[in-house]
């Protein structure tokens, strides 16, 4: 029964998206993302339980350079910090803490090694694992990459944490240099296998670009657009988490459909 209501919702979302596509460009919210890109079928049970029982969420973002922004106050504008703010706003009464553990030039395999320590130090309810970019850049064997991601997710789940996987950024300038497709597929396959949600940053940012919300081709030293993109990413990620954890939020009473 539940499955079929999910199908109904999916059809509704697609229908809404198709209708809104007709009226494209009239959307006021620069962060707007169609629901089918945000909401999946996998649940975040631990997040659900802890938000209800302890009124507390400890979230860790494990990622590479694309999870932070350069500059002295870059961290406060990057999506982990924006996520913390978005969740705090949308889940009144729940204490949300997002810790970003980012290191440059780390392959998925290297990140897996840090997971044990992470679980021990942070005891997270949820680990948001952003990976794939550096592997794509280095040309890791996609199959090896998939195996590493699967191993990491397994470790995190065994350690009691919920997991959300975050894939690559959409980067039009480097599209013919870095082939990210195989790595995005690998992440999707692990997510299917281990039943964890994927935050499809690639498709979401591409949607923003296609819709004219952000000009991601632009060459600039200015941080302004990067900050806005990260703010939107943080909010979109919050929507994904609230939906997957089946939480009630302030806007609209229940998770957005």
């Amino acid at each position: 029964m539940k499955k079929w209501t999910a199908l109904g919702r999916a059809v509704a979302v697609v229908a809404i998206f198709l209708c809104s596509a007709v009226a494209r460009g009239e959307n006021a919210d620069v962060c707007a993302v169609p629901g089918y890109l945000l909401f999946g079928d996998s649940a975040l049970d631990r997040v659900h339980a802890e938000a209800h029982k302890d009124n507390e969420l400890r979230i860790v973002v494990l990622g590479g350079t694309s999870s932070i922004l350069p500059g002295p106050d870059g961290a406060s504008f990057a999506y982990p910090a924006r996520l913390e703010e978005a969740l705090t706003k949308r889940l009144p009464g729940v204490k949300v803490k997002v810790t970003a553990l980012t290191k440059p030039r780390q392959s998925a395999k290297e990140m897996v090694k840090s997971i044990d320590q992470l679980l021990l130090d942070q005891k997270p309810s949820l680990v948001i694992w952003q990976t794939g970019t550096y592997d794509a850049v280095r040309g890791t064997d996609p199959e090896d990459f998939r195996a590493s991601v699967a191993e990491g997710v397994e470790k995190l789940q065994a350690g009691g944490a919920d997991v959300v996987l975050v894939n690559m950024q959409y980067s039009p300038r480097t599209e013919s240099i870095v082939a990210v497709g195989a790595y995005a597929d690998a992440i999707r396959w692990v997510s299917r296998e281990r039943e964890v949600p994927v935050f499809d940053r690639l498709a979401i940012m591409r949607h923003w670009y296609d819709n004219g919300q952000f000009d991601l081709y632009k060459a600039t030293k200015d941080l302004q657009m990067a900050k806005s993109v990260h703010d939107c990413l943080g909010r979109a990620l919050a929507a994904t988490i609230i939906d997957a954890a089946r939480l009630q939020d302030r806007e609209g009473g229940s998770a957005p459909k």
């Binding site: 996609p142 090896d144 980067s171 240099i177 082939a179 296609d210």
Partner: protein
């Protein structure tokens, strides 16, 4: 790129009957031409028209079509040469072809480096610090260029030609065996495919990893194409006429379409039961997953079933552009890779919106067709200019290239 492409010199038909029956099959040129267009559309970054390409509707994509037909035509063209002129001559011709492709690949690499160097010098955006690591290889040209010449460093979208080179290098021996005992040859090919899967054999890449298209796996498709050309198609014909095969193929294609749909709409992912997903994923492109191979077979079976060799439309002017492209596949493939780079460049410099994507895609295909037409014209002219007509009158149809 090469301007002179060998067409087969056709002598008395001492060839196995199947190999010469009825000149060139225009369906091959048509679908290879279409495959070349689809590969181009897929290679243009973020192309809205890429939604029309078959990879979004099932497991296999245009690469399978291209490699299969290339195997088919290679056997068709060089098979005759091997029968009439012997192993050495045909083998030498095949290797010459491999060399031409190598040269074409290096030429494309030079263009690629030019584009990348430009992007590296002009691009800055704090959002993409991590992606910029991809340009590190420009700092060590000594290593990069040598690795590229060794076919170990292969930039994005430049994986098909190296695969083709290896397939052709393996081909003289395979063709020899195919002409003697096609069943043994095909079994050997299947065996190599199985072993490559079993032991994870593949060629190394630089800076790490393996070839994106594993030649030891993809050879199966190439050899299968060759096998079909040398009599296999005739053997399969009764099966392809059977309605059961048609319905199985249709069912499989629909199932694959359904599965593919769940990739784009995670909400309906539950429609693929967990256990089936576990068995099915990942669908490996590198090693030509069996599901991909089967998907291609289903497509091919339906195509052969519903489009006969004598299909009148094959002679119509509407399909002529695709057929022309298919008949000059190496040149048009390389051109397509170049055009995809050029398209990316235009999108960086001007803008990359939907209108531009459509415009660039249409222009690209027009350029491909125009070039194929010029090459055809040039070849016809050369044949006429050389005085003695070396080829039979239907050279254009029977010839084309491997």
């Amino acid at each position: 790129m090469t301007s002179v492409v060998q067409s087969p010199v056709i002598h008395a038909p001492a060839v196995p009957a199947a190999a010469v029956a009825g000149g060139r099959d225009l369906r091959l040129d048509l679908f290879r031409g279409l495959a070349l267009w689809l590969i181009f559309l897929d290679h243009v970054p973020n192309n809205i028209l890429a939604w029309f390409t078959i990879r979004n509707y099932g497991f296999s994509d245009a690469t399978e079509i291209f490699i299969f037909i290339s195997g088919y035509t290679a056997a068709f063209v060089y098979g005759r040469a091997m029968v009439s002129r012997g192993f050495i001559v045909a083998g030498a011709r095949i290797l010459r072809r491999a060399w031409q492709i190598y040269v074409a690949h290096v030429f494309l690499f030079a263009i690629y480096i030019a584009e990348i160097a430009y992007v590296a010098s002009s691009f800055e955006n704090p959002l993409y610090v991590e992606e910029m690591n991809a340009l590190d290889f420009l700092k060590t040209p000594d290593v990069t260029i040598i690795q590229a010449l060794l076919l170990k460093f292969k930039p994005a979208n430049m994986d098909v030609l190296p695969l083709y080179i290896v397939l052709l290098i393996m081909f003289p021996a395979m063709l020899w065996l195919l002409l003697r005992n096609a069943t043994v040859a095909l079994s050997l090919s299947v065996g190599l495919y199985v072993l490559a899967w079993e032991f994870g054999w593949n060629f190394p890449s630089w800076p790490n990893g393996h070839w994106y298209f594993n030649p030891l796996a993809w050879q199966l498709l190439f050899v299968f194409g060759a096998w079909c050309a040398l009599g296999g198609a005739t053997r399969l014909a009764p099966a392809l006429r059977s309605p059961i095969v048609v319905w199985v193929a249709i069912a499989y294609l629909l199932a694959a379409f359904g599965v593919t749909l769940t990739w784009y709409f995670p909400r309906i992912a539950f429609l693929v039961p967990h256990r089936i997903g576990e068995w099915m994923y990942p669908i490996d492109k590198t090693n030509l997953d069996v599901l991909r191979f089967a998907h291609f077979l289903a497509l091919a079976a339906l195509t052969v079933h519903f489009i006969p060799r004598t299909w009148p439309l094959l002679q119509s002017k509407w399909l002529r552009p695709a057929i022309l492209c298919g008949q000059h596949s190496l040149e048009i493939f390389c051109l397509g890779v170049f055009l995809a780079f050029a398209a990316h460049f235009v999108m960086i410099e001007l803008f990359g919106g939907t209108a531009m994507q459509v415009f660039i895609s249409i222009c690209g295909i027009c350029i491909m067709v125009g070039t194929a037409w010029v090459i055809s014209w040039y070849k016809r002219m050369e044949v006429r200019g050389s005085g003695t007509p070396k080829r039979p009158p239907d050279a254009d149809l029977a010839g084309g290239e491997a």
